[in-house]
């Protein structure tokens, strides 16, 4: 009797309440996130490549097709360089600006807002605006033309330092740089805010102590401040990586796949191949590959956090 009572009271009223509140969302997430991921994985192994569903098992056929496809190889190259350049730019610019703002300059909040404002925009808007700004035949480019400079910005089909690798030229597509500019313009504010918070969190006494020991400002940053900002850098990298690996809207609005697919990314390819070409299995395979690409960044981070927690 007594034991029964005990099991009944295993959860307190509060805990029951918590379970009641969480259950619907857990259920929804199970179905609409993990259920659909599994469904996508299932479709990616099927032969469903017309408008008529065909769930016969195809094995890895769709994946093999993709990795031998010129467009997808270009996508992977673009994704790689875009991710590296974008994250690099956001971190360097964000950290640089944060250090400058941390010097307690006048009108700090004004500058902080200016750098944060772009984040309020949607990527589609950013894409359209930068497309106007960089269009080879309008605006500032018309002005440059009078000096004989005709930059092609995002329509350039050249690939920097390229060497042939399989079917594709492996190197940095020039057109990607314009997208890096636009996306970094949008997201630098985020890194700035994170780093600024981090810098403010470092007690002044530490710097004072270092100065007393005769360290130069540069040494203080290198040896004391930057190492303390490491967790922040990790968060910024994670946040930016999942944006850059999944990016669709900015590029769709700004350049599309680009000539010779120099600005194409898996997201665009997935959209076009699924909803224009009705290659549902190919589209699902691309989606799964994108998921894995993001997982490569996220999983070690989560793992690390878990370890830190316990």
């Amino acid at each position: 009797m007594a034991t029964k009572q005990k099991t009944k009271q295993k959860f307190s009223k509060d805990q029951w309440l918590a379970i009641g509140f969480l259950a619907p969302s857990i259920l929804l997430i199970l179905v609409f996130v993990y259920g659909f991921i599994s469904w996508t994985g299932y479709v990616s192994l099927s032969n469903w490549n017309t408008i008529v569903p065909d769930f016969s098992f195809a094995g890895l056929k769709n994946y093999l097709y993709l990795f031998s496809d010129f467009r997808f190889q270009s996508d992977l190259r673009n994704m790689l360089f875009f991710t590296i350049l974008f994250i690099g730019a956001v971190i360097i610019l964000g950290l640089g600006l944060a250090i400058l703002l941390d010097k307690k300059i006048k009108g700090e909040s004004f500058f902080r807002n200016i750098f944060l404002f772009p984040m309020a925009l949607s990527f589609v808007v950013t894409g359209v605006v930068w497309q106007w700004l960089l269009n080879p035949s309008t605006g500032v480019n018309n002005f440059l033309k009078t000096f004989g400079i005709e930059p092609l910005w995002y329509t350039d089909t050249n690939i920097l330092a390229g060497f042939q690798w399989g079917q594709i030229e492996f190197g940095v597509p020039v057109a990607i740089l314009s997208i890096v500019v636009a996306s970094a313009w949008q997201m630098t504010g985020f890194a700035l805010a994170m780093y600024l918070a981090g810098l403010r969190g470092i007690p002044e006494e530490l710097r004072e102590a270092a100065r007393m020991d005769g360290a130069s400002e540069l040494q203080i940053y290198r040896k004391i401040i930057l190492p303390q900002l490491r967790p922040i850098t990790a968060s910024v990298v994670i946040m930016m990586a999942h944006i850059s690996l999944k990016i669709f809207d900015l590029i769709y609005a700004m350049t599309g796949p680009g000539a010779n697919f120099v600005t194409d990314v898996p997201g665009l390819y997935m959209f076009e191949t699924t909803f224009r070409g009705n290659y549902y299995a190919h589209g699902a395979a691309i989606a799964i590959i994108m998921l894995l690409a993001v997982a490569i960044f996220i999983v070690p981070y989560l793992w690390n956090n878990r370890r830190a927690d316990s």
Binding site: S137, A259, F261, G277
Partner: protein
């Protein structure tokens, strides 16, 4: 005490949320069941709804659709019309929405689809469409459309949709002033085209404006060259399997295509077709290959006059041929208001319906007996050409000649070709893609 209050509040909130959820679930059920009730009625009955699905949301096309709906309401005041237009370039979004609705067995009453493979290879092949042979017989339509056109909307002897309009895509639009100033004639053959292009380039004018930010305008040039080099029968043979895609004439077409691309504007990849047309309007470029919706863009958006500011001519060596794009409406299986939908198709197929819609949309009627006086100079010309054409050829770039899957792959291959100019690569890609059908 305070803690208890908080707890109470949370409980109230939770209960409220639960009821809201339950209500939401119930009300959607209600809506669904009441819909069924009203839809199950026969045509003409009170409360019947016809849902018309299209991607006509742009200027001109939307006006045409709304005028057509008004005409229908006038004739059938007892039938409700639901205009389910989905915005988005060339129907990409609409097609995705349509696909999910058709696969979920929730078809609209009737939907816009390009005649040809876009209809046949997908919806007809999937067994989702009803044949309309009886409808054609009853309404005496068999001799009102050209035979080639009825063939285009038929599969295995069954007719599956009703064409409402015709667009032509083997047209070069050119700037009249540019040609007059340089004292040159509009080219009719490829030799003439290249001669003219050299002269124009020497005069500092871009000979050919192209906007291939979306790759279909480039594909459209290639399909016109294929039609010219192969002739209408062998061109169609490419898609029936009678002519292989590595035929020497295909290779020659691709070579010519590459040669033509040498004369295009440098910033083609940043432009869409309207931007390319604008280059022609401004006189920076001389010609652009585009479907005749470009006429609507020139006269409505840029306020230019036909045959004064800009002229038109068929693409090289396709005179007498008509690269046809037709918007059609079919009858899906499993809809509940079939009779009412047929009434709508009747209006769509009538001379009155076609003459209401097309002058606004900027296309020409699919019927050969429509009223020419309702159309402008270009429209009259195109109508004559359509009636007297030696042959109609289905467009690849607009989904009539080949399934969407082939088109996607061809667009990709063309996109690569535009920069790499590798003839073999493009031909191989076409051969591989043609295993689709």
């Amino acid at each position: 005490m305070k803690g208890e209050d908080k707890l109470k509040k949370i409980w109230v909130l939770a209960v409220l949320m639960m009821t809201a959820l339950i209500f939401a679930a119930c009300s959607s059920d209600d809506a669904a069941s009441s819909d069924e009730g009203s839809d199950s009625g026969e045509g003409g009955e009170e409360g019947t709804t016809v849902e018309i699905f299209s991607w006509w949301t742009g200027a001109g096309e939307e006006d045409g659709l709304l005028a057509l709906i008004d005409l229908f309401k006038e004739k059938h005041p007892d039938i409700e019309v639901e205009n389910a237009a989905v915005a988005g370039g060339a129907g990409t979004n609409a097609k995705a929405v349509l696909a999910s609705r058709m696969q979920g067995d929730d078809p609209p009453s009737t939907f816009q689809v390009h005649g040809g493979e876009e209809l046949n290879a997908s919806w007809v092949a999937a067994g989702k469409m009803q044949p309309l042979n009886d409808f054609y017989e009853e309404n005496d339509l068999m001799d009102k459309f050209p035979e080639d056109l009825i063939d285009l909307v038929s599969d295995d002897g069954n007719i599956y949709s009703v064409p409402v309009n015709i667009h032509r895509s083997n047209v070069i639009f050119y700037n009249k002033a540019v040609f007059e100033e340089n004292g040159i004639e509009v080219p009719k053959t490829f030799d003439e085209f290249f001669a003219v292009a050299d002269e124009l380039e020497a005069a500092g004018v871009t000979p050919l404006a192209l906007g291939d930010k979306n790759s279909w305008p480039a594909t459209q040039i290639l399909e016109n060259i294929l039609l010219a080099k192969l002739g209408p029968d062998d061109y169609k043979g490419l898609f029936s399997g009678d002519v292989a895609f590595d035929d020497p004439r295909v290779v020659e077409s691709v070579e010519t295509f590459g040669q033509m691309l040498d004369y295009m504007n440098d910033d083609h990849a940043s432009r869409v077709w309207q931007d390319a047309a604008q280059l022609v309007a401004e006189g920076e470029a001389a010609m652009t290959v585009m479907g005749d919706w470009a006429k609507g863009y020139f006269s409505n958006d840029l306020n230019l006059t036909v045959n004064e500011d800009f002229g038109y001519v068929t693409t090289p060596e396709t005179e007498g041929l008509f690269m046809v794009i037709t918007d059609t409406f079919g009858l899906p299986k499993g809809i509940e208001n079939e009779e009412a939908t047929k009434e709508f198709l009747k209006v769509l197929a009538s001379v009155e319906g076609q003459d209401t819609f097309n002058p606004l949309k900027g296309s020409i009627p699919a019927r050969v007996d429509a009223d020419e006086s309702k159309y402008d100079e270009y429209g009259k010309d195109a109508m004559d050409d359509f009636k007297n054409a030696d042959a109609l050829a289905p467009s690849i770039a607009h989904g009539s000649a080949a399934p969407e899957g082939f088109l996607t792959k061809m667009n990709q291959a063309v996109n690569i070709f535009v920069t790499q100019r590798d003839v073999d690569q493009l031909v191989n890609a076409l051969v591989n893609a043609s295993s689709e059908f």
